[in-house]
Symmetry: C3
Subunit: 340 residues, 3 copies
């Protein structure tokens, strides 16, 4: 049981689901996302119960999803509602419907017991939808287990080695702290009166100036992270620092590949499309072109054995990742116990 099920995973950016059904694999299960006539999003199992055809290749016909192979139609709650063949008896069949919530521009899917799907459990990413903020975003299918991607965000020290544009004394000389708040595992980096990284200088216009820098990361089980990067003139109170909030949500495709959804926000230069395009290109390069290859190589060298049995050495900076892994392990074990 490598996955937590009674939880919300990001399935897609809402803007990536238009009229055509969207097929993807989540937690090793084929899923199809689709919108009804009112634009409401739904998620169904992606395999037709008749002959296993891929429902994601179907189309919406008269308010139902038509299988692309023999034309059975399924309502948005998964019931078979039409059989186009002679006789036309509708079989008593259904595909699984997954609870789906559209929130803050993201589609969140619940892969566990539908009865327990409570939208109040979705972590708050209100800034993604708040007009006072603007954000750039992206998504990519990346190689490597989702927990390796979680480790990566909770241990920001990698930035000085993996991301030339984000190299900073903050990671290697600053203060670090890790802790837990309920089921949220957090990391906090603080480094005052020093230069920021080149990449951040370009975003904040702070080149050549010393700044205070405070970064916090909140991990929400199983794999949704909020990273708040803050900086400002030395002496600025922490809550008055300029903030670059970011989302890093990782949804397992399977044990060795991950859907990565990311966004980075700002509350300045709103509406500056050129600036946004540059920022997007820079963050995409960091997350998809610099992080993903090293994690892919890591996964390959790690193999598929148990993380705890590999005899790895742990450093102080791993406290966040280890805390998240242990918390997740406990939550998965609790689900298994309950299921028995």
């Amino acid at each position: 049981m490598p996955y937590l099920r009674n939880t919300w995973y990001v399935a897609a950016w809402a803007h990536d689901l238009a009229e055509a059904p969207l097929g993807l694999t989540l937690l090793e299960e084929p899923v199809v996302l689709l919108r009804d006539g009112d634009g409401a999003a739904h998620a169904l199992a992606g395999r037709c119960p008749h002959r296993c055809a891929p429902l994601a290749k179907g189309r919406i016909v008269e308010g139902a999803l038509e299988c692309p192979y023999h034309g059975l139609r399924f309502s948005f709650d998964g019931r078979c509602v039409h059989n186009p063949h002679p006789g036309g008896e509708v079989p008593d069949a259904a595909v699984r419907a997954y609870p789906l919530a559209e929130r803050h521009g993201l589609l969140w899917i619940w892969m566990g017991d539908p009865v327990r799907a409570d939208e109040a459990l979705i972590p708050d990413f209100g800034w993604l939808a708040d007009p006072k903020w603007e954000h750039v975003n992206g998504s990519a299918l990346v190689p490597g287990n989702y927990q390796l991607y979680v480790d990566n965000i909770l241990d920001l020290s990698h930035a000085s080695f993996v991301h030339p544009a984000l190299r900073s004394n903050a990671w290697t000389r600053g203060e670090r702290e890790f802790g837990r708040r309920g089921e949220v595992v957090w990391a906090r980096y603080r480094h005052l009166d020093d230069y920021l990284s080149e990449g951040i200088d370009m975003v904040l216009g702070s080149a050549g100036r010393r700044m205070d820098n405070v970064v916090t990361v909140d991990w929400h089980a199983p794999s949704v992270l909020f990273l708040d990067f803050r900086a400002g003139e030395p002496g600025t109170p922490e809550e008055a620092l300029t903030s670059l909030p970011s989302l890093h949500a990782f949804t397992p495709q399977d044990r060795t590949s991950t859907h990565y959804f990311w966004a980075v926000g700002r509350d300045f230069r709103l509406g500056d499309a050129d600036f946004s395009a540059g920022a997007r290109a820079a963050f995409l390069a960091a997350f998809e072109l610099e992080d993903a290859p090293i994690i892919a190589a890591q996964q390959k060298l790690m193999g598929e054995g148990d993380f705890w049995d590999m005899g790895l050495i742990h450093l102080a900076g791993d406290a966040g990742g280890i805390g998240a892994r242990r918390t997740l392990q406990r939550l998965i074990a609790a689900e298994e116990t309950e299921a028995r």
Copy 2:
């Protein structure tokens, strides 16, 4: 034991085997097809018994197949007949020779007990060689288990969803009947006084006219099908309808990939090469570019488990495919019993 062995499979179109040996994998076994000096076709195991080199990469030398690695030569019945090395003692070795029959432009191979190979058991496709008929044909290595391809031909209702040019009321509103005649499983579709599909209208020149339409499919174990598509003016006696006979022969490469051999005949516009080229392109698109991808996706979502254990729902139109699967299963079980 997923394959029936004492039966004829199509190995190749005869015109695809010229002077050079032709290698392919059938039923997970490497096979090489070759012609002797008189043009007679033979089939041998494709793996040299000396060091497993691929005999299909060899050439015919002095009436024998020379291994491309160390030059041992094998006669057309499989015996080692020449050792080119110092000393030159010919080893008492042989590769398996499979019975092969050239019939109606096809090469039929018998992968079972050679003693039982009876050419009278080859299904009759005389129209492929009859000068009153002309046909277009093709072959392709396609993804997916061969039984999925059999299902596809026995349940023609897929045409309205998978093949835009073959969409027709005949499949969804007509009469259907399925049955058995000896070991032959058959399907029959009948739909009178209605429009045909666009694609068929182009072949028959029937655009804008209502026609009678009768289609029969005969399945010969394990996976050779004869499909007779007939149409004509309303009221025409069935035997007087214009016929478009077709062959659909599926030979497993392995459990998840299949050699597909097809042909579609006609007894009109004989010698019209442009018409033939257009028809060939259209049928190739339907069989190789429309059917194969959906069956590939179906195979992937189905996995390699047992068909009967997947909890699939069955519709009335599956009676042909299910009949063929059960018949084949019985024939394979009988072979296994006999082999013990």
Copy 3:
């Protein structure tokens, strides 16, 4: 245990290791080769003990190899010597260091017990570094088990079938002898007063003339071969024949792929760069473009079963390959016994 460990394998041509670390997989283990400030070559395990990142993607910083993910640094003998993170406590950790010897232009690695690594055990390829000789060389990652490549060199009869330019009566009509000298298995081919192959004629300038030809092959366990091709005017004493010595060293990447290192020497036309370029292209074509594909096909048809259980037939010319396989099997078994 498919590999002999207490032995020297070729890891690379020395000239292929410059300042940047070089990563490769040997005997299924990730290895990184690197040079220290004095140019001395070292070999370390290629996987960081912290989070399994690929050390071969790191760089040399202040005389140590920096992990590309979180910046831990490892000395050339494998100890962790620097932790760049706040606090900076250096963990008591190390990666395995493999004995490495630079000898005759090759880097030799010892994958077994370091205590037993004796450079005197490296087979003598002095001609590779002797100014009286000049050589062309190459290396390639080729498909197929390393023992198949050993078989190939010990049974030169394949040349007449696999290498059109090396076809010669020497292989099929000459004398052959196989034997053992200590742990060295040898083959010897002798054919007098006949034409050489076209390819060799081009190298020796002997086109149209009958020559004496003596070829010896020495196999050193597990997979390093010295081939001495000699030819000259009929009647020339054997030690006075012109020699084309060659190296064929095979290092397993894993069970079905092999690093092939080769070189062919001469003691004439020294310094003739055009001649060298032509010779290199010709030998590269033979070894990498003609041998490798047939061995790849052989591996595929052979599968991964045990060589002795495949029911293969053996010819007189296989005595060398079989002798090497048996010797290697005995040496591996002895290591296993000792390890218990």
